[in-house]
């Protein structure tokens, strides 16, 4: 999530704004949707490489069991993209990075706390647990955790995977519009 946010958020604001990378690319035959696709490919690359480093460390310290740990790579990629694409869709329209900082403080950080990343969700009161379960990060964390421990059921993988995929695709659909609006005003 954090990598998805950093590479799909602040970097998009900079490229569309003061850095000008998008503006210079927009004057070439590239279409806004292609520029967006290029950026998302870069985000995917960053997600995969940083996830791979985590997997290596987990395997080296014997945290995960068996070859299933490899399956966390696409799962973590999907989780990262589920955040990166909607955030990029929003970020491309921003004129300054200050809103991005607020989003990190007031949306991302609380989500971090209540998504079962650091402590088990059973410790939360019932109503908060229901809300936490609906968070995309909870779904991503559970998906990766169960895959790395080899305890995942196919129904669970499909359900959580579909939820994250819907977010990632929804993000791309909106980003196609917002990229065009910003780059071809």
């Amino acid at each position: 999530m954090q990598t998805g946010f950093i590479e799909g958020g602040g970097r998009v604001v900079a490229a569309a704004g003061w850095q000008g990378s998008y503006r210079s690319a927009a004057t070439t035959p590239l279409e806004p949707a292609e520029i967006m696709a290029g950026h998302l490919l870069f985000v995917a690359f960053r997600l995969l490489t940083s996830n791979a480093a985590f997997v290596v460390v987990m395997a080296a310290f014997g945290v995960s069991k068996g070859w299933w740990v490899i399956a966390t790579l696409p799962a973590a990629l999907l989780t990262g993209l589920a955040f990166a694409t909607p955030i990029a869709a929003w970020a491309v329209g921003l004129r300054s990075p200050s809103k991005m900082n607020s989003a990190f403080r007031f949306v991302l950080m609380p989500m971090y706390m209540f998504s079962g990343t650091f402590f088990a969700l059973d410790q939360l009161p019932h109503w908060l647990r229901v809300a936490a379960n609906a968070l995309p990060l909870t779904q991503g964390v559970e998906l990766c955790r169960s895959l790395s421990l080899g305890s995942a059921t196919s129904l669970e993988v499909l359900g959580r995977g579909a939820y994250l995929l819907a977010l990632a695709i929804g993000g791309i659909a909106v980003a196609r519009l917002t990229y065009r609006r910003r780059l071809h005003p």
Binding site: Q19, G20, S24, T27
Partner: protein, 308 residues
């Protein structure tokens, strides 16, 4: 193809959606007509916010028109945007270079955006790098403003464009760097590249452009060759008179009434008389002088300050 029309605009209009409580929206370009032939150098002149850059964005096919018609290289920017952009070079106002990359890498990546092969880019790099002296492997961050501008121009030539769009190409550069760029642009023009540029500077417009359109408030208010515009709108000399504080308004009225000749304009800090003979106007002024003499200077209109 010499003399062919490359850009044709009829009633070109661009309205931006309302922002910050402005209910009407902003009409940046307001129904302008112009035509541009192959090999021509065409300039848009005017103050900030006049609609020059907005017009350029339409021609560059990076922003849809709101009204009127526009053909670029015989194509419709709304439908054939990528193809038009493939045959145009753009030098944006802020360079938009990748500062962490070297000069060579900047050119290479931009060339790849056009789908050019490595071999083709390598071949063109040899020519383009000549513009940048020995800086090929320096990081853009370390380059001077003039050198960055040269790189931006080199970058815009990587696809061997038929039309080169330059948005305020020399704003912020020192006089020497400006002359180097003018020289380069002049040579490009001689090589048959069609230039469209925006500028605030009269001298730049006169140096580079065959034809000029003066824009204000989204409209073209005057059009013609630099010579025609000067003949029609600029007097041979401009007399500038400075009066003590408080006497300026009276003095300008007296000048007008006293038949000093030419047009009299009252500015916050001085009175300007547009005339063909500054000395005669000054002599006339002494007939209707007040008790205190003004500081005066007469001479040919300075190109940067004559804004009529």
């Amino acid at each position: 193809m010499s003399g062919a029309v490359l850009v044709e605009a009829r009633g070109l209009t661009k309205t931006y959606p309302p922002r910050n409580g402005d209910a009407q929206g902003h009409r940046a370009v307001d129904g302008i007509d112009f035509e541009l032939g192959r090999g021509e150098a065409f300039g848009f002149l005017g103050p900030n916010g006049a609609g020059k850059a907005s017009t350029m964005r339409r021609v560059a096919a990076i922003s849809p028109v709101s009204g009127g018609s526009l053909r670029v290289l015989g194509m419709d920017p709304a439908r054939d945007g990528p193809e038009i952009r493939g045959r145009i070079g753009v030098v944006p106002q802020d360079d938009c270079l990748d500062r962490e990359l070297t000069v060579r890498e900047n050119l290479y990546i931009y060339g790849r955006y056009f789908g050019l092969s490595k071999a083709v880019i390598r071949e063109r790099l040899a020519d383009l790098l000549a513009l940048l002296e020995d800086k090929a492997d320096e990081q853009v961050e370390a380059l001077s403003g003039g050198m960055r501008r040269r790189l931006t121009i080199a970058r815009s030539l990587i696809n061997e464009p038929e039309i080169l769009l330059l948005d305020e190409p020399t704003t912020g550069l020192d006089p020497q760097a400006r002359h180097v760029l003018w020289d380069r642009l002049f040579r490009l023009k001689q090589e048959g590249v069609t230039l469209i540029l925006t500028t605030h500077y009269m001298d730049e417009a006169e140096q580079l452009c065959d034809r000029l359109a003066v824009m204000d408030g989204g409209k073209i208010v005057a059009e013609g060759s630099p010579r025609e515009l000067i003949d029609a709108h600029v007097t041979r000399e401009v007399l500038e008179l400075r009066f003590p504080t408080g006497e300026q308004e009276d003095a300008s009225t007296r000048l007008r009434d006293g038949g000093v000749g030419g047009r009299v304009e009252l500015l916050p800090d001085r009175v300007v008389v547009y005339t063909d003979d500054g000395e005669a106007a000054l002599a006339m002024r002494t007939h209707c002088r007040s008790s205190r003499s003004p500081h005066s200077s007469a001479g040919p209109p300075s190109r940067t300050s004559s804004s009529s």
